[in-house]
Point group: C2
Chain length 175, copies 2
């Protein structure tokens, strides 16, 4: 089977994890188990001690990219969830992974902030957290992602269907 | 395809990497790409800053186990090379990975030491390196590995053939 990585990028609370879990479920229904490389588990399993400085966050991305590469090259499906705000790091992930489907979870900052149950945006706007993507740290939006979803305008089902359609169009899933 | 992990354990210089690369090649000839999780690359990609204390080495094993698990669950073939001297950590890797083929690269310390091009054993015997497995740090040999190879007595070809035979017997490779 042809391996691939669906790489979600977007602001904090833009809907990456929600869509990743739905995509995982949709793929499982087609008989395909995915490796979901997401926040807390990745931090716990391969990133202990990294912290949230720019260096720490960049290294986090590079480690997710490594695991996704290994899953992809052995024929598996990886689903990476990472803010991954910098184009250069996403380009490096794309280059090493190869079969790379970039999904831009596009959503205005103010909508993301209303979804934030942990209150991170509030703290970032108040200056209590520094280097928060979308507030005082840049998010470099993808110019040509394989899929762009507007999570504030499209339903979750519609977003996942767009991703599945792209996977079929690229030959990663049978039609 | 059914995923699996071949987990090499054994003393430093017992032949784990050599066999892993040969196994990788043999699997590739059967059309199967493997993820070889070995020393330097793993250290560079997911273990920067860990160091070689007991904690650092244990964490290194747990990270390899995580990657092998993700590769295995998505249907891929992983080949892990790690001294992995402690039974408890190997048991934890086996438990989380599931389809786990433990290969014990068995070789007497004195033979391993003669193969050591980096001179690590010499330094360990001289007390210049501390906590060196097989010298002043324990190696807990597996009691019931799926495969045991005596790398000082069997040819590389014979060792790899034993592993392939076990993979076939367990249904991971077609006969």
């Amino acid at each position: 089977m042809k391996g691939f990585t669906v790489w979600f990028t977007g602001l904090p609370c833009s809907g990456k994890t929600t869509l990743a879990r739905r995509l995982e479920k949709a793929l499982l229904e087609k008989g395909r188990v995915s490796s979901v490389l997401d926040g807390d588990e990745v931090r716990e399993r391969i990133c202990k001690g990294l912290g949230f400085s720019k260096e720490g966050r960049d290294e986090n991305i590079r480690r997710i990219s490594f695991v996704a590469r290994e899953v992809t090259k052995t024929g598996g499906a990886a689903i990476a969830c990472a803010i991954s705000p910098y184009k250069a790091l996403r380009a490096a992930a794309r280059a090493e992974i190869g079969n790379f489907i970039e999904v831009f979870a596009d959503c205005p900052v103010k909508v993301c902030a209303t979804r934030d149950v942990k209150g991170m945006y509030k703290k970032a706007f108040a200056g209590e957290i520094k280097n928060f993507t979308g507030v005082d740290d840049p998010y470099e939006a993808p110019e040509n992602p394989e899929v762009r979803v507007r999570t504030d305008q499209e339903s979750e089902e519609a977003c996942v269907e767009k991703i599945l359609a792209k996977l079929r169009a690229l030959g990663y899933l049978s039609a």
